[in-house]
């Protein structure tokens, strides 16, 4: 590696603009003639829309247009769709209810968009939105997925009887039942994975601009995948053909999954721009974000884990109910199936697994992928059960895991995935050492003397990342391929632009992707520019989620770099009258190995473009593109250990140390990887101790719809983290990298809850473990 190559802690190139206030987010964009939008939203969780009277609103100061769902439908704008087909175990396709970008006859959750107002100023648009008179007839609502499946529950969509979207299974039911029947011990648990709101700090926003002269649309949007947005808006929502629609995702202030999906607002802003004849900008306020951003998690599961007399797991049976909210969001169906149930083998050699998953409509915000997406739910379930089993069996939780680790690779699990490489014991040992696991008993005794309850908890996670081999996901129902594209454009003076289909919204791609180029050609990262987030500049891409930008996005860049390098060497060999095989590239020069002959990189680039002296038949220029389709998922894994102290008087819990030992394969920039882990852990600790989206069961109102009500992790809720990495390189991609974006959020919640339950001596604790819940669980445990 060079000082700026692979493995170097290069400070981020993009930071300059962010620390000086020069970042460009959607709300910072101004287009001449631009006006402002506000949405009229349903205040009811479930209601028929009887009448919409816009007259008073239209007469308000500054109002340009008030538009409703009927006009949108009349213009042929399509319904929102879920792009991953899942079939129930009886062979029937999932039951997708209609989701109009503006509700026409019925609103199905609080916040469902009913109309849009366009006005001169944002304030005027909001005032007028309040003056739109909608006559609702309220219906009974249900926000709890288990209740929504029950007899007599309110019905959301005519397409889905009993609110059931699908009833799906994976694995071998018979073999699993047989294992449970003959087990020496079975651990049974009821596991709830609490509902979360992703809460990227930048609220969602959209700016739609219809250019009448060109019959062309431009959409600036807070997206993790602008090309997918364009594809879906063209192919399904009938906004415009792809060549008439440009989607730009400029600087985006965090996504965590919530900005993967195409939402009603960007579609409506584009449509309204044509209707009203002005560019239309909408920016969510925070409560709108709480109400309408896709939420995460919300699973209820029953689990049985069977052990033989040697404490080896012989079977795992899981029954999960997943809350999908009022409509099926873009990738919602894949989350509790192929991103969840396929991970139920964890790091363990389990011969028989069966999982049943029911997806359910409720009168709540749509639920879709949130950092980890399915994998945190699988990890939480497994690792809670492992810890509980260890307590029931009277063995050390670390040792129970050790006995059951997979040790031979590749390993075929009973739930589709084929793990390619890993060393789970290495992460476990590293974490135990960093946490001084052996010294815990002493620390616990010392805390006890001070009147505090100290507990320690482990979590050994695995995730499937680098999403994903296109043919494999296609066979499982995905409507898209999950490859990535790249184009490496060497300019005539040797500077380089890399166009990538990945999108950076905090991940630091502008630095790490440049490090790949720097490493290859020995050029400074400052001579490399990473271009992303604009469908006019980058031909096609699948975007950033599922920890895929490294394993898939960078692999595409590597493939394009291979082609650039090959052509550059051909030109260099020709210029220096040497053999192509003797050319090496070092420190920005192309050299003939073993001689003092060399051509500087910039001169080589110039030669490619002047084309005065190229090998016979060679095209001028130096620019290559590539598509990379992964051959397997990647499998980051690791071990997290959390140590807590609980105040028995108040239930207040403090994390006294948090250790993460991850195996991400090869690493491009350790500084950025550590930052990803820190952020992920904070979100996982948030889920475990602080965060939870709560709907009032009777009215369906979201009770946690602001930062006054939904507890975001703050600096004083968290400790500094001890993070380290080990490395079993990923064999399936050219860089040997596995991905690191989601690990922290996946691995940490069970470690925290295992630590708290260890401290209080009661396994019965649900997330978030607020002081009140911890106190109650502690009282329950000490009652007898």
């Amino acid at each position: 590696m060079g000082v700026e190559g692979i493995g170097a802690r290069v400070a981020r190139k993009e930071d300059k603009r962010f620390i000086t206030g020069a970042g460009r987010y959607v709300d910072d964009m101004v287009v001449p003639g631009m006006k402002h939008a506000a949405f009229v939203r349903s205040p009811y969780a479930h209601a028929d829309i009887r009448k919409i009277d816009v007259k008073a609103a239209q007469a308000m100061p500054g109002v340009i247009a008030v538009l409703t769902g009927r006009e949108l439908k009349a213009d042929g704008v399509g319904n929102l769709i879920c792009g991953w087909m899942i079939h129930s175990k009886d062979g029937t396709p999932m039951k997708m209810g209609a989701w109009s970008p503006l509700a026409v006859d019925r609103a199905r959750y609080v916040g469902d968009a009913v109309a849009i107002v366009v006005a001169e100023t944002k304030g005027q648009a909001r005032d007028a939105a309040e003056a739109v008179e909608v006559t609702y007839k309220e219906r009974k609502a249900v926000t709890d997925a288990v209740k929504a499946l029950g007899k007599g529950a309110p019905q959301l969509h005519p397409e889905a009887d009993n609110n059931l979207i699908y009833d799906w299974e994976i694995g071998d039911a018979k073999a699993t039942e047989a294992a449970i029947a003959k087990a020496a011990h079975v651990t049974r648990m009821h596991i709830v994975n609490n509902r979360l709101v992703p809460n990227a700090m930048e609220p969602r926003a959209a700016l739609g601009h219809y250019d009448k002269a060109e019959d062309h649309y431009t959409c600036w949007t807070t997206s993790q995948n602008p090309h997918v947005a364009r594809l879906v808006m063209s192919a399904f929502y009938n906004i415009a053909p792809e060549n008439k629609l440009r989607v730009i995702a400029p600087d985006v202030g965090g996504g965590f999954g919530s900005k993967i999906f195409i939402y009603p607002e960007e579609i409506v802003c584009l449509w309204a721009s044509k209707r009203a004849g002005v560019p239309v900008k909408w920016v969510a306020d925070r409560t709108e974000s709480f109400l309408t951003d896709a939420h995460g998690r919300d699973h209820v599961s029953e689990v049985q884990m069977a052990f033989d007399k040697n404490n080896r797991i012989i079977g795992l049976k899981v029954d999960t109910i997943a809350n999908f909210g009022a409509y099926m969001s873009l990738f919602s169906s894949s989350v509790p199936t192929y991103l969840y149930a396929t991970l139920l083998s964890g790091q363990y050699d389990i011969p028989a697994i069966h999982a049943n998953v029911r997806a359910v409509y409720t009168n709540s915000a749509p639920v879709d992928a949130y950092r980890g997406a399915g994998r945190p739910e699988a990890t939480y379930l497994l690792e809670r059960v492992m810890e509980t089993a260890a307590r029931e069996l009277g063995v050390d939780p670390a040792e129970l895991r050790r006995v059951n680790f997979i040790r031979q690779f590749p390993h075929q699990t009973p739930v589709i995935l084929n793990y390619d490489a890993g060393d789970y014991e290495a992460s476990l040992d590293a974490a135990m050492k960093a946490a001084d696991y052996a010294g815990f008993a002493k620390r616990r005794d010392k805390a006890k003397k001070a009147g505090r309850l100290r507990g320690i908890g482990l979590s050994c996670y695995i995730e499937a990342c680098g999403l994903a081999p296109s043919a494999a996901v296609g066979s499982l129902g995905a409507g898209v391929g999950l490859w990535e594209s790249a184009e490496v454009r060497v300019n005539a003076v040797g500077t380089i632009e890399v166009m990538t289909g990945s999108h950076s919204h905090g991940q630091g791609h502008e630095t790490t992707f440049a490090q790949l180029v720097s490493d290859r050609f020995g050029l400074p990262v400052d001579s490399v520019n990473i271009v992303h987030g604009d469908t006019d500049k980058v031909q096609m891409g699948m975007g950033t989620y599922g920890s895929r930008s490294g394993a898939v996005g960078m692999s595409a860049i590597v493939k394009a770099l291979d082609k650039v390098e090959a052509k550059a060497k051909k030109i260099a060999a020709h210029l220096m009258e040497a053999d192509e095989g003797d050319i090496v590239i070092e420190n920005g020069e192309l050299k003939v190995a073993g001689t003092d002959k060399s051509v500087p990189w910039f001169q080589l680039a110039l030669a490619a473009y002047t084309a005065h002296n190229l090998p016979a038949g060679m095209e001028p220029g130096l620019k290559e593109g590539a598509f990379y389709d992964p051959t397997n998922f990647t499998f980051p894994a690791g071990c997290y250990i959390c140590e807590v102290e609980v105040d028995p008087e108040t239930g207040r819990t403090e994390i006294v140390q948090f250790v993460a030992a991850d195996d991400f394969g090869n690493i491009i920039n350790p500084m950025i990887v550590e930052g990803q882990v820190h952020g992920g852990i904070a979100q996982g600790v948030g889920q475990a101790m602080l965060e939870g989206a709560h709907y009032d069961p009777a009215s369906g109102q979201l009770l946690t719809a602001s930062y006054m009500d939904y507890t975001m992790p703050r600096a004083d809720d968290l400790p500094s983290f001890k993070v380290s990495t080990s490395n079993t390189p990923c064999p399936s991609n050219p860089l040997g990298i596995k991905g690191c974006g989601e690990a922290g959020a996946i691995g940490s919640p069970p470690a925290v809850i295992n630590a708290i339950t260890n401290a209080i001596g009661n396994n019965d604790l649900t997330m978030p473990a607020t002081p009140q819940r911890v106190w109650a669980a502690l009282k329950a445990a000490t009652k007898h």
């Binding site: 962010f18 925070r286 930062y707």
Partner: protein
């Protein structure tokens, strides 16, 4: 409408605004200073922190009219020309930002915090004082590191200046 006039980043500005215009909207929409961000509606997230007469304030909880007559410094006015302010430099060096959205508010809050603690800062104090600024990306780990480092750098520079003056 209200007539407002103030000094923003060393430049005198004035104009007429709707009475309900918040300082943050005046900065962003009237002056084009979009480095100051809006991340919530309840004065909780701190993305909008600027300095008003030398003190950190949440510009979403002050009317532009209330700020009339005062001196405002935003993230755009913190660096000295091409030289980054030590807090800006520390955020970059210690990877104290990811998506960058909370960063201007964090930096403005941290600068004020360091000014109020000439005796120096420790981790617990930094964490407690950052309570009014939410970051969803970094887990605060590197933000805390950056603030502590900047505090040290500025203390050293302050001593250097004091010696020179003596």
């Amino acid at each position: 409408m209200s007539e407002v006039s103030m000094v923003v980043n060393g430049r005198k500005v004035s104009g007429a605004v709707e009475d309900r215009t918040l300082l943050v909207h005046y900065l962003r929409e009237h002056l084009g200073l979009t480095g100051t961000h809006v991340g919530c509606d309840t004065s909780q997230c701190g993305a909008c922190v600027v300095h008003m007469d030398g003190k950190a304030v949440k510009s979403c909880s002050i009317l532009a009219a209330q700020a009339s007559g005062s001196e405002i410094v935003t993230i755009e006015g913190l660096a000295n020309g091409a030289d980054l302010h030590p807090v800006q430099a520390a955020f970059k060096e210690h990877h104290g930002l990811q998506c960058g959205f909370c960063t201007p508010g964090m930096i403005m809050a941290a600068t004020d915090m360091i000014r109020r603690h000439p005796e120096g800062l420790d981790e617990a104090t930094v964490r407690a004082e950052l309570e009014g600024n939410i970051c969803r990306c970094t887990g605060y780990h590197n933000i805390v590191k950056a603030v502590l480092a900047a505090s040290k750098t500025m203390a050293k520079a302050g001593k250097g200046k004091a010696r020179k003056a003596a």
